[in-house]
Protein backbone atom coordinates (compact mmCIF):
# COMPACT_ATOMS: atom_id res chain seq x y z
CA UNK A 1 0.00 0.00 0.00
CA UNK A 2 1.31 3.38 -0.92
CA UNK A 3 -0.02 6.76 0.26
CA UNK A 4 -3.47 5.27 0.83
CA UNK A 5 -6.36 7.64 1.51
CA UNK A 6 -9.88 6.58 2.33
CA UNK A 7 -12.82 8.54 3.71
CA UNK A 8 -16.09 7.13 5.04
CA UNK A 9 -18.75 9.84 5.01
CA UNK A 10 -16.97 12.88 6.39
CA UNK A 11 -14.52 10.89 8.46
CA UNK A 12 -11.02 10.32 7.09
CA UNK A 13 -10.17 6.71 7.91
CA UNK A 14 -6.77 6.64 6.22
CA UNK A 15 -4.54 9.58 5.42
CA UNK A 16 -1.43 8.26 3.75
CA UNK A 17 -1.03 4.65 4.87
CA UNK A 18 2.19 2.95 3.72
CA UNK A 19 2.31 -0.80 4.28
CA UNK A 20 4.17 -3.83 2.95
CA UNK A 21 3.16 -7.45 3.52
CA UNK A 22 6.18 -9.67 2.87
CA UNK A 23 5.42 -12.92 1.05
CA UNK A 24 5.50 -15.99 3.32
CA UNK A 25 5.23 -14.04 6.56
CA UNK A 26 2.60 -13.66 9.25
CA UNK A 27 1.98 -9.92 9.38
CA UNK A 28 -0.10 -8.37 12.13
CA UNK A 29 -2.06 -5.17 11.69
CA UNK A 30 -2.98 -3.83 15.09
CA UNK A 31 -4.77 -0.77 16.28
CA UNK A 32 -7.40 0.49 18.68
CA UNK A 33 -11.10 -0.11 17.97
CA UNK A 34 -12.30 2.12 15.17
CA UNK A 35 -8.83 2.68 13.76
CA UNK A 36 -9.85 1.17 10.42
CA UNK A 37 -8.32 -2.31 10.61
CA UNK A 38 -11.28 -4.05 9.00
CA UNK A 39 -11.55 -1.25 6.42
CA UNK A 40 -7.94 -1.93 5.53
CA UNK A 41 -8.78 -5.58 4.84
CA UNK A 42 -11.76 -4.54 2.72
CA UNK A 43 -9.44 -2.36 0.64
CA UNK A 44 -6.98 -5.21 0.18
CA UNK A 45 -9.73 -7.60 -0.92
CA UNK A 46 -11.41 -5.09 -3.24
CA UNK A 47 -14.63 -4.82 -1.23
CA UNK A 48 -13.86 -1.10 -0.97
CA UNK A 49 -11.95 1.13 -3.35
CA UNK A 50 -9.31 3.59 -2.25
CA UNK A 51 -9.86 7.24 -3.14
CA UNK A 52 -6.18 7.93 -3.52
CA UNK A 53 -3.05 5.89 -3.37
CA UNK A 54 -2.16 2.37 -4.37
CA UNK A 55 -3.27 -1.03 -3.08
CA UNK A 56 -1.31 -3.71 -4.86
CA UNK A 57 -1.73 -7.49 -4.67
CA UNK A 58 0.94 -9.50 -6.47
CA UNK A 59 1.63 -6.61 -8.85
CA UNK A 60 -2.06 -5.83 -9.58
CA UNK A 61 -3.57 -2.47 -8.62
CA UNK A 62 -6.67 -3.68 -6.76
CA UNK A 63 -8.63 -0.45 -7.19
CA UNK A 64 -8.35 -0.70 -10.98
CA UNK A 65 -9.60 -4.28 -11.29
CA UNK A 66 -12.98 -5.07 -12.81
CA UNK A 67 -15.52 -7.08 -10.81
CA UNK A 68 -14.57 -10.24 -12.70
CA UNK A 69 -10.87 -9.64 -12.07
CA UNK A 70 -11.53 -8.99 -8.37
CA UNK A 71 -13.35 -12.33 -8.14
CA UNK A 72 -10.42 -14.00 -9.87
CA UNK A 73 -8.03 -12.36 -7.40
CA UNK A 74 -10.16 -13.46 -4.43
CA UNK A 75 -9.85 -17.06 -5.53
CA UNK A 76 -6.21 -16.69 -4.54
CA UNK A 77 -7.20 -15.39 -1.10
CA UNK A 78 -8.91 -16.89 1.92
CA UNK A 79 -10.51 -14.91 4.68
CA UNK A 80 -11.48 -15.81 8.22
CA UNK A 81 -14.26 -13.55 9.44
CA UNK A 82 -14.57 -12.39 13.02
CA UNK A 83 -17.64 -14.57 13.67
CA UNK A 84 -16.68 -17.36 11.26
CA UNK A 85 -19.52 -16.45 8.86
CA UNK A 86 -20.37 -20.11 8.21
CA UNK A 87 -23.40 -20.71 6.00
CA UNK A 88 -26.02 -21.66 8.56
CA UNK A 89 -28.12 -23.86 6.27
CA UNK A 90 -25.18 -26.16 5.45
CA UNK A 91 -23.36 -28.57 7.77
CA UNK A 92 -19.63 -28.37 8.45
CA UNK A 93 -18.73 -30.69 5.58
CA UNK A 94 -20.84 -28.79 3.05
CA UNK A 95 -19.54 -25.44 4.29
CA UNK A 96 -15.99 -26.51 3.51
CA UNK A 97 -17.01 -28.13 0.23
CA UNK A 98 -18.90 -24.97 -0.80
CA UNK A 99 -16.05 -23.15 -2.63
CA UNK A 100 -15.02 -26.41 -4.34
CA UNK A 101 -18.53 -27.05 -5.58
CA UNK A 102 -18.88 -23.46 -6.80
CA UNK A 103 -15.55 -23.17 -8.58
CA UNK A 104 -14.57 -26.67 -9.65
CA UNK A 105 -16.10 -29.75 -11.18
CA UNK A 106 -14.18 -32.17 -9.01
CA UNK A 107 -15.70 -35.64 -8.62
CA UNK A 108 -17.42 -36.21 -5.28
CA UNK A 109 -14.70 -38.63 -4.18
CA UNK A 110 -12.06 -35.94 -4.57
CA UNK A 111 -14.21 -33.28 -2.89
CA UNK A 112 -14.58 -35.62 0.07
CA UNK A 113 -10.84 -36.22 0.16
CA UNK A 114 -10.03 -32.50 0.12
CA UNK A 115 -12.67 -31.63 2.72
CA UNK A 116 -11.54 -34.36 5.12
CA UNK A 117 -7.90 -33.30 4.66
CA UNK A 118 -8.73 -29.71 5.59
CA UNK A 119 -10.88 -30.81 8.51
CA UNK A 120 -8.03 -33.01 9.73
CA UNK A 121 -5.70 -29.99 9.54
CA UNK A 122 -7.92 -28.05 11.95
CA UNK A 123 -8.65 -31.10 14.12
CA UNK A 124 -12.38 -31.32 13.40
CA UNK A 125 -12.72 -34.33 11.11
CA UNK A 126 -15.13 -35.82 13.64
CA UNK A 127 -17.42 -32.79 13.44
CA UNK A 128 -18.04 -33.04 9.69
CA UNK A 129 -21.77 -33.61 9.97
CA UNK A 130 -22.51 -31.07 12.70
CA UNK A 131 -24.48 -27.95 11.86
CA UNK A 132 -22.90 -24.53 12.55
CA UNK A 133 -25.40 -23.96 15.38
CA UNK A 134 -23.99 -27.04 17.15
CA UNK A 135 -20.42 -25.70 17.19
CA UNK A 136 -18.72 -23.71 19.94
CA UNK A 137 -17.19 -20.36 19.02
CA UNK A 138 -13.72 -21.84 18.74
CA UNK A 139 -14.90 -24.80 16.64
CA UNK A 140 -16.78 -22.45 14.32
CA UNK A 141 -13.63 -20.39 13.84
CA UNK A 142 -11.65 -23.53 13.01
CA UNK A 143 -14.25 -24.73 10.50
CA UNK A 144 -14.19 -21.30 8.88
CA UNK A 145 -10.40 -21.59 8.74
CA UNK A 146 -10.69 -24.97 7.01
CA UNK A 147 -13.07 -23.39 4.49
CA UNK A 148 -10.68 -20.47 3.98
CA UNK A 149 -7.84 -22.82 2.99
CA UNK A 150 -9.87 -25.29 0.94
CA UNK A 151 -8.97 -23.61 -2.37
CA UNK A 152 -5.28 -23.52 -1.37
CA UNK A 153 -5.01 -19.72 -1.29
CA UNK A 154 -1.76 -17.78 -1.43
CA UNK A 155 -2.93 -15.10 1.01
CA UNK A 156 -4.89 -15.84 4.16
CA UNK A 157 -6.56 -12.94 5.96
CA UNK A 158 -7.76 -13.14 9.55
CA UNK A 159 -10.17 -10.49 10.82
CA UNK A 160 -10.04 -10.40 14.63
CA UNK A 161 -9.57 -14.18 14.95
CA UNK A 162 -9.27 -14.20 18.76
CA UNK A 163 -12.44 -12.34 19.73
CA UNK A 164 -14.60 -14.25 22.21
CA UNK A 165 -12.43 -17.38 22.37
CA UNK A 166 -11.66 -19.27 25.57
CA UNK A 167 -7.93 -19.77 26.35
CA UNK A 168 -7.85 -23.29 24.88
CA UNK A 169 -9.53 -22.31 21.60
CA UNK A 170 -7.37 -19.22 21.46
CA UNK A 171 -4.24 -21.34 21.80
CA UNK A 172 -5.48 -23.68 19.07
CA UNK A 173 -6.22 -20.83 16.65
CA UNK A 174 -2.84 -19.20 17.38
CA UNK A 175 -1.03 -22.43 16.66
CA UNK A 176 -3.06 -23.00 13.50
CA UNK A 177 -2.23 -19.54 12.14
CA UNK A 178 1.47 -20.23 12.45
CA UNK A 179 1.34 -23.87 11.36
CA UNK A 180 -0.83 -23.30 8.31
CA UNK A 181 1.29 -20.36 7.22
CA UNK A 182 4.49 -22.37 7.43
CA UNK A 183 3.33 -25.74 6.16
CA UNK A 184 1.19 -24.45 3.28
CA UNK A 185 3.63 -21.69 2.33
CA UNK A 186 1.02 -18.96 2.74
CA UNK A 187 1.21 -15.27 3.42
CA UNK A 188 -0.97 -14.29 6.37
CA UNK A 189 -2.41 -10.98 7.48
CA UNK A 190 -3.86 -10.96 10.98
CA UNK A 191 -5.90 -7.98 12.05
CA UNK A 192 -6.33 -7.82 15.77
CA UNK A 193 -6.11 -5.68 18.87
CA UNK A 194 -5.08 -8.57 21.10
CA UNK A 195 -1.47 -7.49 21.57
CA UNK A 196 -0.16 -10.43 23.59
CA UNK A 197 -1.59 -13.08 21.30
CA UNK A 198 -0.66 -11.46 18.06
CA UNK A 199 2.89 -10.54 18.99
CA UNK A 200 3.45 -14.19 19.91
CA UNK A 201 2.63 -15.40 16.42
CA UNK A 202 3.52 -12.59 14.00
CA UNK A 203 6.76 -12.03 12.13
CA UNK A 204 5.99 -8.34 11.57
CA UNK A 205 3.66 -5.88 13.25
CA UNK A 206 2.13 -2.67 12.00
CA UNK A 207 0.29 -0.36 14.36
CA UNK A 208 -2.49 1.70 12.89
CA UNK A 209 -3.66 4.88 14.57
CA UNK A 210 -5.09 8.21 13.45
CA UNK A 211 -5.29 7.08 9.83
CA UNK A 212 -1.60 6.21 9.57
CA UNK A 213 0.84 3.44 10.40
CA UNK A 214 2.63 4.75 13.47
CA UNK A 215 4.93 1.78 14.09
CA UNK A 216 6.24 -1.10 12.01
CA UNK A 217 8.72 -3.89 12.57
CA UNK A 218 9.33 -7.06 14.51
CA UNK A 219 6.93 -7.51 17.46
CA UNK A 220 9.70 -6.98 20.05
CA UNK A 221 10.81 -3.75 18.40
CA UNK A 222 7.27 -2.37 18.24
CA UNK A 223 6.64 -3.38 21.87
CA UNK A 224 9.78 -1.59 22.96
CA UNK A 225 8.97 1.61 21.08
CA UNK A 226 9.13 4.82 23.09
CA UNK A 227 6.50 6.52 20.90
CA UNK A 228 3.71 7.54 23.30
CA UNK A 229 0.81 6.26 21.17
CA UNK A 230 2.59 2.96 20.57
CA UNK A 231 3.44 2.56 24.25
CA UNK A 232 -0.14 3.22 25.33
CA UNK A 233 -1.55 0.64 22.93
CA UNK A 234 1.10 -2.06 23.35
CA UNK A 235 1.03 -1.88 27.15
CA UNK A 236 -2.70 -1.26 27.52
CA UNK A 237 -2.34 2.03 29.45
CA UNK A 238 -5.78 3.44 30.31
CA UNK A 239 -4.79 7.07 29.76
CA UNK A 240 -2.47 8.70 27.26
CA UNK A 241 -2.75 10.13 23.77
CA UNK A 242 -6.05 8.25 23.55
CA UNK A 243 -7.75 9.83 26.61
CA UNK A 244 -9.75 7.84 29.13
CA UNK A 245 -12.58 10.40 28.96
CA UNK A 246 -14.65 10.99 25.87
CA UNK A 247 -14.70 14.76 25.17
CA UNK A 248 -17.33 16.37 27.45
CA UNK A 249 -18.08 19.70 29.14
CA UNK A 250 -16.46 20.52 32.49
CA UNK A 251 -17.57 17.84 35.01
CA UNK A 252 -18.35 20.14 37.99
CA UNK A 253 -20.19 22.59 35.78
CA UNK A 254 -22.35 19.83 34.26
CA UNK A 255 -23.18 18.44 37.70
CA UNK A 256 -24.25 21.91 38.92
CA UNK A 257 -26.62 22.37 35.99
CA UNK A 258 -30.24 21.59 36.88
CA UNK A 259 -30.91 20.15 33.46
Amino acid sequence: MRDLHYTAGRRAIFAGVELDIPRGSVTAVMGPSGSGKTTLLRLITGQLRAENGLVEFDGQDVSKLSRREIYRMRRRMGMLFQNGALLTDLDVYENIAFPLREHTRLPERLVRHVVLTKLQAVGLRGAARLMPSELSGGMGRRVALARAIVMDPELLIYDEPFVGLDPISLGVVLRLIRRLNDTLGLTSIVVSHDVREITAVADYCHLLSGGRIIASGAPAAVSGSSHEDVRQFMHGLPDGPVPFHYPAPEYAEQIRQVR
Binding site: Q47, N83, T88, P99
Partner: protein, 257 residues
Protein backbone atom coordinates in the same frame (compact mmCIF):
# COMPACT_ATOMS: atom_id res chain seq x y z
CA UNK B 1 -42.76 28.52 7.85
CA UNK B 2 -43.60 26.44 4.82
CA UNK B 3 -39.99 26.09 3.70
CA UNK B 4 -39.02 23.17 5.99
CA UNK B 5 -42.18 21.30 5.03
CA UNK B 6 -41.44 21.77 1.33
CA UNK B 7 -37.82 20.73 1.87
CA UNK B 8 -38.99 17.62 3.68
CA UNK B 9 -41.47 16.87 0.92
CA UNK B 10 -38.84 17.30 -1.79
CA UNK B 11 -36.41 15.10 0.16
CA UNK B 12 -39.10 12.47 0.61
CA UNK B 13 -40.00 12.47 -3.11
CA UNK B 14 -36.33 12.30 -4.04
CA UNK B 15 -35.82 9.36 -1.65
CA UNK B 16 -38.84 7.54 -3.08
CA UNK B 17 -37.54 8.01 -6.62
CA UNK B 18 -34.11 6.81 -5.57
CA UNK B 19 -35.64 3.70 -3.99
CA UNK B 20 -37.74 3.07 -7.09
CA UNK B 21 -34.65 3.39 -9.27
CA UNK B 22 -32.73 1.00 -7.03
CA UNK B 23 -35.60 -1.49 -7.27
CA UNK B 24 -35.60 -1.17 -11.08
CA UNK B 25 -31.83 -1.72 -11.33
CA UNK B 26 -32.08 -4.75 -9.03
CA UNK B 27 -35.00 -6.13 -11.06
CA UNK B 28 -33.03 -5.77 -14.31
CA UNK B 29 -30.11 -7.56 -12.68
CA UNK B 30 -32.36 -10.43 -11.60
CA UNK B 31 -33.89 -10.64 -15.08
CA UNK B 32 -30.44 -10.86 -16.63
CA UNK B 33 -29.38 -13.57 -14.18
CA UNK B 34 -32.52 -15.67 -14.72
CA UNK B 35 -31.30 -17.92 -17.58
CA UNK B 36 -28.10 -18.79 -15.72
CA UNK B 37 -30.05 -19.43 -12.48
CA UNK B 38 -32.44 -21.78 -14.26
CA UNK B 39 -29.40 -23.77 -15.31
CA UNK B 40 -28.92 -24.72 -11.64
CA UNK B 41 -32.52 -25.79 -11.25
CA UNK B 42 -31.84 -27.89 -8.15
CA UNK B 43 -31.30 -24.74 -6.11
CA UNK B 44 -34.56 -23.29 -7.45
CA UNK B 45 -36.50 -26.46 -6.63
CA UNK B 46 -35.16 -26.27 -3.06
CA UNK B 47 -36.58 -22.76 -2.80
CA UNK B 48 -39.90 -23.76 -4.37
CA UNK B 49 -40.10 -26.17 -1.45
CA UNK B 50 -39.16 -23.48 1.09
CA UNK B 51 -41.46 -20.77 -0.21
CA UNK B 52 -44.20 -22.87 -1.78
CA UNK B 53 -44.57 -26.20 -0.06
CA UNK B 54 -44.05 -24.73 3.40
CA UNK B 55 -46.81 -22.17 2.71
CA UNK B 56 -49.29 -24.85 1.67
CA UNK B 57 -51.03 -25.31 5.02
CA UNK B 58 -51.75 -21.62 5.54
CA UNK B 59 -52.87 -21.24 1.90
CA UNK B 60 -55.19 -24.26 2.05
CA UNK B 61 -56.72 -23.27 5.39
CA UNK B 62 -57.25 -19.69 4.24
CA UNK B 63 -58.65 -20.86 0.91
CA UNK B 64 -61.16 -23.10 2.67
CA UNK B 65 -62.41 -20.35 4.99
CA UNK B 66 -62.51 -17.69 2.29
CA UNK B 67 -64.48 -20.08 0.08
CA UNK B 68 -66.88 -20.86 2.93
CA UNK B 69 -67.45 -17.17 3.64
CA UNK B 70 -67.94 -16.56 -0.08
CA UNK B 71 -70.51 -19.38 -0.11
CA UNK B 72 -72.40 -17.86 2.81
CA UNK B 73 -72.31 -14.25 1.65
CA UNK B 74 -72.97 -15.22 -1.97
CA UNK B 75 -75.93 -17.36 -1.01
CA UNK B 76 -77.37 -14.60 1.19
CA UNK B 77 -77.04 -12.03 -1.60
CA UNK B 78 -78.21 -14.23 -4.47
CA UNK B 79 -81.17 -15.54 -2.48
CA UNK B 80 -82.57 -11.97 -2.38
CA UNK B 81 -82.81 -12.06 -6.16
CA UNK B 82 -83.95 -15.66 -6.29
CA UNK B 83 -80.86 -16.77 -8.17
CA UNK B 84 -78.99 -18.80 -5.57
CA UNK B 85 -78.25 -21.47 -8.20
CA UNK B 86 -75.70 -18.98 -9.63
CA UNK B 87 -73.58 -19.43 -6.50
CA UNK B 88 -71.16 -21.74 -8.36
CA UNK B 89 -70.36 -19.18 -11.05
CA UNK B 90 -70.10 -16.30 -8.55
CA UNK B 91 -67.74 -18.26 -6.30
CA UNK B 92 -65.63 -19.55 -9.20
CA UNK B 93 -65.26 -16.17 -10.90
CA UNK B 94 -64.60 -14.38 -7.61
CA UNK B 95 -61.96 -16.88 -6.58
CA UNK B 96 -60.24 -17.34 -9.94
CA UNK B 97 -60.11 -13.69 -10.98
CA UNK B 98 -59.69 -11.85 -7.67
CA UNK B 99 -59.66 -13.56 -4.33
CA UNK B 100 -57.36 -16.43 -5.25
CA UNK B 101 -54.47 -14.38 -6.65
CA UNK B 102 -54.84 -11.42 -4.28
CA UNK B 103 -55.28 -13.24 -0.97
CA UNK B 104 -52.60 -15.78 -1.90
CA UNK B 105 -50.22 -12.90 -2.66
CA UNK B 106 -51.00 -11.19 0.65
CA UNK B 107 -50.52 -14.46 2.54
CA UNK B 108 -47.36 -15.17 0.56
CA UNK B 109 -45.98 -11.75 1.51
CA UNK B 110 -46.73 -12.45 5.16
CA UNK B 111 -45.41 -15.99 5.29
CA UNK B 112 -42.80 -16.63 2.57
CA UNK B 113 -41.88 -12.98 1.91
CA UNK B 114 -40.95 -12.27 5.50
CA UNK B 115 -39.06 -15.57 5.72
CA UNK B 116 -37.04 -14.66 2.61
CA UNK B 117 -36.32 -11.11 3.78
CA UNK B 118 -35.28 -12.12 7.28
CA UNK B 119 -33.16 -15.00 6.00
CA UNK B 120 -31.26 -12.75 3.60
CA UNK B 121 -31.06 -10.00 6.22
CA UNK B 122 -29.58 -12.39 8.76
CA UNK B 123 -27.13 -13.69 6.18
CA UNK B 124 -26.05 -10.08 5.64
CA UNK B 125 -25.86 -9.37 9.39
CA UNK B 126 -23.79 -12.49 10.10
CA UNK B 127 -21.35 -11.81 7.23
CA UNK B 128 -22.47 -14.88 5.28
CA UNK B 129 -23.00 -12.81 2.14
CA UNK B 130 -19.64 -11.07 2.64
CA UNK B 131 -18.02 -14.48 3.11
CA UNK B 132 -19.47 -15.62 -0.22
CA UNK B 133 -18.11 -12.48 -1.88
CA UNK B 134 -14.72 -13.32 -0.42
CA UNK B 135 -14.98 -16.86 -1.78
CA UNK B 136 -15.51 -15.24 -5.21
CA UNK B 137 -19.12 -16.45 -5.23
CA UNK B 138 -21.68 -13.86 -6.29
CA UNK B 139 -24.39 -13.87 -3.58
CA UNK B 140 -27.00 -12.54 -6.00
CA UNK B 141 -26.38 -15.47 -8.31
CA UNK B 142 -26.04 -18.13 -5.62
CA UNK B 143 -28.49 -16.99 -2.93
CA UNK B 144 -30.87 -14.33 -4.22
CA UNK B 145 -31.75 -15.76 -7.64
CA UNK B 146 -32.94 -19.22 -6.51
CA UNK B 147 -35.09 -17.59 -3.83
CA UNK B 148 -36.54 -15.09 -6.26
CA UNK B 149 -37.35 -17.75 -8.86
CA UNK B 150 -38.68 -20.09 -6.17
CA UNK B 151 -41.18 -17.41 -5.19
CA UNK B 152 -42.09 -16.60 -8.79
CA UNK B 153 -42.80 -20.27 -9.55
CA UNK B 154 -44.62 -20.94 -6.28
CA UNK B 155 -47.13 -18.11 -6.42
CA UNK B 156 -49.32 -19.24 -9.36
CA UNK B 157 -49.29 -22.79 -7.99
CA UNK B 158 -50.35 -21.59 -4.55
CA UNK B 159 -53.05 -19.34 -6.06
CA UNK B 160 -54.41 -22.29 -8.04
CA UNK B 161 -54.54 -24.44 -4.91
CA UNK B 162 -56.15 -21.58 -2.99
CA UNK B 163 -58.89 -21.21 -5.63
CA UNK B 164 -59.48 -24.96 -5.78
CA UNK B 165 -59.86 -25.33 -2.02
CA UNK B 166 -61.90 -22.11 -1.92
CA UNK B 167 -64.30 -23.56 -4.46
CA UNK B 168 -64.61 -26.67 -2.35
CA UNK B 169 -65.40 -24.45 0.67
CA UNK B 170 -68.05 -22.50 -1.25
CA UNK B 171 -69.59 -25.75 -2.45
CA UNK B 172 -69.54 -27.17 1.06
CA UNK B 173 -71.48 -24.22 2.47
CA UNK B 174 -73.72 -23.58 -0.55
CA UNK B 175 -74.63 -27.15 -1.47
CA UNK B 176 -74.19 -29.13 1.74
CA UNK B 177 -75.35 -26.55 4.30
CA UNK B 178 -77.63 -24.10 2.47
CA UNK B 179 -79.26 -26.57 0.09
CA UNK B 180 -78.26 -25.21 -3.33
CA UNK B 181 -78.69 -27.91 -5.94
CA UNK B 182 -75.36 -29.61 -6.60
CA UNK B 183 -75.96 -30.02 -10.34
CA UNK B 184 -76.95 -26.35 -10.67
CA UNK B 185 -73.89 -25.27 -8.70
CA UNK B 186 -71.42 -27.07 -10.98
CA UNK B 187 -73.21 -26.52 -14.29
CA UNK B 188 -73.63 -22.76 -13.65
CA UNK B 189 -69.94 -22.61 -12.84
CA UNK B 190 -68.90 -24.48 -15.98
CA UNK B 191 -71.13 -22.30 -18.09
CA UNK B 192 -69.89 -19.00 -16.70
CA UNK B 193 -66.16 -19.55 -16.40
CA UNK B 194 -64.17 -19.15 -19.60
CA UNK B 195 -60.53 -19.77 -20.32
CA UNK B 196 -59.89 -16.00 -20.28
CA UNK B 197 -61.07 -15.83 -16.68
CA UNK B 198 -58.67 -18.56 -15.68
CA UNK B 199 -55.84 -16.89 -17.59
CA UNK B 200 -56.60 -13.58 -15.88
CA UNK B 201 -56.06 -15.22 -12.52
CA UNK B 202 -52.91 -16.98 -13.68
CA UNK B 203 -51.48 -13.76 -15.08
CA UNK B 204 -52.28 -11.83 -11.92
CA UNK B 205 -50.73 -14.44 -9.66
CA UNK B 206 -47.62 -14.57 -11.87
CA UNK B 207 -47.23 -10.78 -11.69
CA UNK B 208 -47.85 -10.82 -7.93
CA UNK B 209 -45.26 -13.59 -7.64
CA UNK B 210 -42.65 -11.42 -9.34
CA UNK B 211 -43.61 -8.35 -7.26
CA UNK B 212 -43.68 -10.09 -3.86
CA UNK B 213 -40.50 -12.07 -4.48
CA UNK B 214 -38.67 -8.99 -5.77
CA UNK B 215 -39.67 -6.94 -2.73
CA UNK B 216 -38.68 -9.72 -0.33
CA UNK B 217 -35.24 -10.40 -1.82
CA UNK B 218 -34.50 -6.70 -2.36
CA UNK B 219 -35.40 -5.71 1.19
CA UNK B 220 -33.57 -8.67 2.71
CA UNK B 221 -30.46 -8.29 0.56
CA UNK B 222 -30.21 -4.55 1.22
CA UNK B 223 -31.14 -4.64 4.90
CA UNK B 224 -29.01 -2.84 7.47
CA UNK B 225 -26.87 -5.56 9.11
CA UNK B 226 -28.28 -5.20 12.61
CA UNK B 227 -31.16 -6.84 14.50
CA UNK B 228 -33.19 -3.66 14.04
CA UNK B 229 -32.30 -3.51 10.35
CA UNK B 230 -33.47 -7.08 9.74
CA UNK B 231 -36.70 -6.39 11.61
CA UNK B 232 -37.29 -3.25 9.57
CA UNK B 233 -36.60 -5.11 6.30
CA UNK B 234 -39.15 -7.75 7.27
CA UNK B 235 -41.80 -5.15 8.07
CA UNK B 236 -41.10 -3.23 4.87
CA UNK B 237 -41.45 -6.45 2.91
CA UNK B 238 -44.99 -7.01 4.17
CA UNK B 239 -46.05 -3.38 3.79
CA UNK B 240 -44.57 -2.77 0.34
CA UNK B 241 -45.67 -6.17 -1.00
CA UNK B 242 -49.25 -5.78 0.24
CA UNK B 243 -49.69 -2.26 -1.11
CA UNK B 244 -48.02 -3.23 -4.42
CA UNK B 245 -50.28 -6.26 -4.81
CA UNK B 246 -53.44 -4.19 -4.32
CA UNK B 247 -52.21 -1.43 -6.63
CA UNK B 248 -51.13 -3.86 -9.35
CA UNK B 249 -54.41 -5.73 -8.94
CA UNK B 250 -56.38 -2.58 -9.68
CA UNK B 251 -54.21 -1.76 -12.68
CA UNK B 252 -54.41 -5.27 -14.15
CA UNK B 253 -58.15 -5.50 -13.55
CA UNK B 254 -58.69 -2.12 -15.26
CA UNK B 255 -56.63 -3.27 -18.25
CA UNK B 256 -58.23 -6.71 -18.58
CA UNK B 257 -61.87 -5.88 -18.02
Amino acid sequence: MAAPVIHELVASVRESLRALGAYAIFAVRLARETPRALWRFGLVVEQVHNTGALSLVIIMLSGLFVGMVLGLQGFDLLERFGSEESLGSVAALGLLKELGPVITALLFAGRAGTALASELGLMRATDQLAAMEMMAVDPVRRVVMPRFLGGVISMPLLAAIFSLIGLFGAQLVGVQFMGVDSGQFWSQMRGAVELDDVMEGVLKSAVFGVACSLVAVYEGYHSVPTAEGVGRATTRTVVISSVSVLLIDYMLTAVML
